[in-house]
Symmetry: C2
Subunit: 315 residues, 2 copies
């Protein structure tokens, strides 16, 4: 069995995930999910982390700990300045933020990325940069190859363009957050059954078509209303309306994120259910996808730790 070489900590808004990792990237052990940073854990961040990795105590005495995610935000353990985008693993490694963490030893936070040009509103990410670096390791990126497109779907979906091994730009789409607000706090939810609705693939596909159709940005404010009228006039079953709305938003998101450049392939980084949903929508729009392996964050931590000289090359 490989020797432990690193503790990988993915600490976001809603959960803490730790893994004990070998120098070759093999995951030797995982912690149970712990509390996210919002609300901040009552016992403090250091104590929460100590508890989470306690089972490996005898193994990690001298192991570096690499963290990424909202733990590096203003509401987290320490606010780590964003690194300007474009950036690659080497740049992230160079700007690791070292914490004074007492007994925990060498604890580092990977900085998030920001695009702060004044011609556009700011864009920021924390945690996704590490997952993208991790996913990149498993994708082919010949020198001089075309830019690759990555999506991390969710509450605030991130779409990132990668050239070579460098994250060159990204954009945030509030798709998941908007879906939940529309479903639960506008007229659109009124016709939807309260119970968790099973997916209606046909309604979802109909939504994708409607959302991805050409039009100006404000057309979305009009298209959303169809979720109500299609239900009112029984053109869609009420049990399918949530799927229609989901398809409408995801279709609009994917079409917008790929409007300027048709990607050769879109790499999807996310949980299985959401990844499949994005893949289905992209398929329908004629966009090829690949689904990234699980544990992109752990892979990213390994790559960044190695670039920082914190890991010995596997022997």
């Amino acid at each position: 069995m490989s020797k432990p070489a690193l503790i990988s900590v993915d600490w976001g808004t809603t959960s803490l995930r730790c893994a004990l990792v070998a120098a070759d990237g093999a995951i030797l052990a995982r912690s149970a999910d712990g509390p996210g940073i919002n609300p901040p854990p009552a016992e403090g961040f250091a104590s929460t982390l100590t508890t989470a990795i306690a089972p490996w105590r005898y193994q990690h005495a001298s192991l570096p700990i690499l963290m990424s995610g909202m733990i590096g935000s203003r509401q987290g353990w320490a606010e780590v300045p964003y690194l300007p985008c474009p950036a690659n693993a080497a740049a992230l490694a160079e700007h690791l933020h070292r914490l004074d963490a007492g007994d925990l030893g060498d604890v580092f936070i990977v900085p998030g990325l920001a695009m702060l040009g004044t011609e556009q509103p700011p864009e920021v990410m924390r945690g996704e940069e590490t997952q993208i670096i991790g996913a990149l390791a498993k994708t082919t990126h010949a020198k001089g190859a075309a830019a690759q497109l990555f999506v991390l779907p969710g509450t605030h979906s991130k779409w990132a363009t990668v050239t070579g091994t460098e994250i060159t730009s990204f954009a945030t789409y509030m798709t998941g957050d908007v879906f939940a607000a529309l479903r639960h706090h506008t007229i659109l939810g009124r016709l939807m059954p309260d119970a968790a609705t099973s997916d209606d693939a046909a309604a979802f596909a109909q939504g994708v078509s409607a959302g991805a159709a050409d039009g100006p940005p404000g057309a979305l404010l009009n298209r959303l209303f169809a979720t109500r009228t299609l239900g009112l006039f029984e053109r869609l079953p009420t049990a399918g309306l949530a799927s229609y709305l989901s398809g409408l938003l995801i279709g609009a998101e994917i079409a917008a994120a790929t409007a300027l450049v048709k990607p050769e392939v879109i790499t999807i980084i996310g949980n299985a259910e959401l990844s499949q949903r994005y893949r289905a929508a992209a398929d329908q729009l004629g966009l090829p996808t690949t689904i990234a392996p699980a544990d992109c964050a752990v892979r990213g931590h390994c790559i960044i730790a190695r670039a920082a000289g914190l890991l010995k090359e596997p022997s």
Copy 2:
């Protein structure tokens, strides 16, 4: 003083407004605002209306009562079938729905309008058709003149095209409903002060520009996020973020509703505050506006009642 000739009843989701009207359209008296149809008044619709117009009892014994709005919906007093659009005042008059309302006498509901072609999702309105007919009476519409554009801003804004005196098409934009859901139920509200914020005209204008800029529909899901990042990076004061979001949505709505045909003038029908907000945004986008007089619903009821032969021409 003119003689009472009609009772005008504008009965929507949230309020009941009655007016005692002369044959020439002069408003002789108004009721205090009564309860809307959602939730339905406990004492029933007939009883609620009887109470609202009781002060005029001695005057209205034989007066026709014309109602419009959600009172004609499935959740209202009686579900009145939608009239297909295009339609004018004569068509609305021809399809008045007569209620069996006992002591109240001749009570009619103006039908709403629907666009039910199968190539697009259904569009519906109830009440706005009457306001547009009322506003039309005060706008010039020379025969053969270009189509006119009307907007009724609100929770679900309606944009209607009128050719001559006929409402030829319309579309619904969920702007107000979406604004409230985003502000109160997504991350965008987190940086906004809780207290009702005074309008920030500069932030509103910046939002209008961002919302009206070219792009695909899904770009809106990305642009919304700027409401957060502009606040985070202190490019906008937090007190201005709600105005920015409002401008973003209204700018997107106006740009989309006028994307195909630049109107000579947009007639705005709504309360003073919202009408001014839409006028400011349209001004900024180079679109001339006129604000309809108050009481468009009452005016519309008079025109439809006259077309139905329920009103004597003013002597």
